[in-house]
């Protein structure tokens, strides 16, 4: 079985650990590029949200690399994400590809569980347990490395050295064959991150990055906003992370559940009902950013995203009530890196001026 799945930031490291421990061969498509997005946009419905198009492009790439099974989560939610797998796989079949679908959510847990009965080495239950442990340790390792890169990058002496160190340490983690090896790979990665030369240059700007989760976490979609900000000497604080995204639905980590509950509670005066996306994280994240005295907030979301469009209408009110500047970045396949760069530069200039007038 040659399994593939769409990209989302560095989630592929944890997901491929999961699947390869179950005995499947994992096909990882290249990181999404402009070409991937164009290919997806060509076949996707015209005004579907951008993540759909990127995922579809990833699937095209994976199938042309020889994948025979595509995995995707699926469900019946108010957000379109629940229908991605169903519609994308239909589009691919209509385009002439033949493959097997794993739709987690719609197929039911049992079907997915038994899907690997033939491929797994030895006992199926033990195989899943092993796979899950590896999945969790790699997800945590990726999370830790990303967090340390975020801290180091604004102060790096040589531009780009942090990102180089990060990609080297991530590949060490990715290639580690066992849970134990992942542990030492993480240590090795942390050493690499510590080896990045830094110099202190005054207090940097702090900006929270929040919004639709895929737009926050997928560098190809947001033009690597975290790196861009870091290299401008700004500390970016993403409200979401791959680890939280992967483990939220599994409900194994109580700290994530507590945080989710708190986010809903804080956001209640602004959005009392669940809209089905990350709207509570967006609203609460903005309020938190103001309370933590960050300099600003960047709200990223794909064009036509339903829950975030609602947030987009509410954020100006929070901006005023809490006195925190918010930059809205609405992304689609026509957004250009120069456009984003210009807006980020203007925004950070504004924040620097604001700080001069009103020191924290």
């Amino acid at each position: 079985m040659k399994v593939s799945f769409p990209h989302m930031g560095n989630a592929y490291i944890a997901l491929s650990a999961l699947l390869s421990n179950l005995g499947a061969e994992v096909i990882i498509p290249p990181r999404p590029t402009q070409k991937t997005i164009e290919m997806g946009a060509l076949h996707a419905p015209e005004f579907v949200c951008l993540p759909f198009k990127v995922n579809l492009g990833d699937n095209f790439q994976a199938l042309s690399m020889g994948a025979d099974t595509l995995a995707m989560v699926s469900g019946t939610w108010a957000c379109r994400f629940g229908y991605y797998g169903r519609v994308q796989h239909q589009i691919l079949r209509d385009a002439g590809f033949e493959f097997d679908s794993i739709l987690l959510g719609r197929d039911g847990v049992g079907t997915v569980y038994n899907k690997f009965a033939d491929t797994v080495d030895g006992n199926l239950a033990l195989g899943w347990l092993r796979a899950f442990r590896s999945f969790r340790s790699k997800a945590r390792a990726v999370d830790a490395l990303e967090a340390s890169a975020r801290e180091v990058r604004p102060f790096e002496r040589e531009r780009g050295s942090t990102s180089d160190a990060l990609s080297r340490s991530l590949s060490v983690v990715h290639e580690s064959p066992s849970v134990k090896a992942t542990g030492s790979a993480l240590d090795r990665g942390m050493e690499l991150m510590d080896a990045v030369e830094v110099e202190r240059r005054g207090e940097p700007l702090h900006i929270a990055v929040l919004g639709e989760i895929y737009a926050v976490l997928e560098p190809s979609l947001n033009f690597d906003i975290e790196r861009r900000l870091g290299e401008m000497g700004v500390v970016a604080h993403p409200v979401m992370s791959i680890y939280k995204w992967l483990f939220r639905p599994l409900k194994t980590d109580p700290s994530i559940l507590v945080e989710e509950r708190r986010a809903r509670r804080v956001a209640r005066p602004y959005i009392p009902y669940v809209l089905g996306g990350e709207e509570h994280q967006t609203i609460t994240g903005t309020i938190d950013a103001a309370r933590k005295r960050y300099d600003g907030v960047i709200h990223v979301f794909p064009f036509t995203c339903m829950p975030e469009s609602v947030c987009r209408a509410i954020l100006p009110r929070i901006e005023k009530e809490y006195d925190i500047p918010v930059l809205n970045l609405c992304l689609d396949e026509h957004a250009s890196p120069t456009g984003i760069e210009t807006r980020l530069e203007a925004f950070t200039d504004l924040l620097r001026q604001r700080r001069r007038k009103k020191p924290r």
Binding site: A78, Y270, G276, T304, V310, A313
Partner: protein, 332 residues
């Protein structure tokens, strides 16, 4: 008398008879905003988020229209509109609509928010809350509610009979007959002209400004129009059983009625009307085109509307479609 303003947009097309009867039963005077016009759209666009679908922009326009002339503003929050085993929702934008309005328009009159969340809260409880907001005795609320439910049922009966929401409303309010409506130009047997089925949200199809009078344009071209509101709920239910589940209540109706029309012999063409940037429709439109349509289905056309769609563009596409189905009928 307290005046309550209801925007002529979104939920208006579905539930206005209910809202009006209910509010009048509670001793208020209902004021409806004017039909959509150019000025209203421009106002709506100015106050609204730029990248949102046109029905929400229209809703903003209608709210602005009412803002200074009423004592209370009646906003609806449609969370779930049907009771069934699995979770159902409306569009996230409909759920968050009052929050958006509150945050982006200043100087609004006090808001009466009516929540429809059938999965978690009965309509009686929503009505009770409305009564409390207007300080009316519970007995009066109960009476108003039962009358409102009657009027709404009469209205839905008229819609099933083939009337447009406008005609169905006036028939429901005047209270004549209990079911069925007579529609000009169509009878039961095979229609003389072409028979085009219109599938799309009421707030698009029946907003004359945004749909550029689509229904009357079709009848002027000699085709008989069948609305999706004419498909009975049990037929939709049966059609839906053929496909994997979806959870948007209004899109379920779209899918069910499109499937019904696309498998019928007496329909010459189906027009799927959507608005640009509509989230659920972008998925359901694709499902209709890929899962529902078969080789033998009547022609299906997707018409996408927004506030920039020119009248000439819409007219050309509609004429071309009617020409096409006329030709394909002549051939067969």
């Amino acid at each position: 008398m307290l005046t309550v303003g209801i925007p002529r947009a979104l939920s208006y097309y579905r539930y206005f008879p209910f809202f009006k009867t209910m509010l009048e039963g509670l001793g208020t005077k209902v004021v409806l905003s004017k039909p959509t016009g150019k000025r209203l759209v421009e106002d709506g666009v100015r106050y609204c988020v730029d990248d949102i679908c046109v029905p929400v922009k229209l809703y903003y326009g209608h709210v602005l229209e009412l803002k200074d002339i009423v004592d209370r503003l009646f906003l609806t929050r449609l969370v779930s509109v049907e009771k069934c085993d699995s979770d159902t929702y409306t569009c996230p934008k409909l759920i968050g609509l009052p929050d958006m309005i509150r945050s982006s328009i200043e100087g609004l009159p006090p808001i009466i928010e009516f929540v429809v969340d059938i999965q978690n809260r009965s309509i009686h409880s929503s009505a009770r809350r409305l009564g409390e907001m207007l300080d009316t005795p519970p007995a009066l609320t109960r009476k108003a509610l039962s009358r409102a439910i009657d009027v709404q049922a009469r209205y839905e009966g008229k819609l099933l009979g083939g009337l447009t929401p406008e005609d169905a409303m006036s028939a429901a309010f005047s209270g004549n007959g209990s079911s069925g409506g007579v529609r000009a130009g169509s009878g039961d047997g095979p229609a003389p002209g072409l028979n085009v089925a219109l599938v799309g949200h009421e707030y698009l199809l029946h907003d004359h400004f945004i749909s550029h009078n689509l229904p009357s344009r079709l009848s002027r071209l000699g085709s008989c129009v069948t609305y999706m509101t004419e498909v009975p709920p049990d037929v939709i239910e049966a059609e839906l059983a053929r496909y994997p589940e979806i959870s948007w209540s209004y899109e379920k109706e779209l899918l069910g009625s499109a499937s019904y029309f696309l498998h019928r012999e007496d329909i010459d063409g189906v027009m799927l009307v959507m608005c640009f940037a509509c989230g659920p429709d972008s998925i359901v439109g694709e499902i209709i085109e890929r899962e529902v349509r078969t080789e033998s289905s009547p022609p299906l056309m997707t018409l996408v509307l927004d506030e920039h769609a020119g009248q000439a563009g819409v007219a050309t596409r509609v004429e071309a479609f009617v020409d096409l189905i006329r030709r394909s009928r002549r051939k067969s």
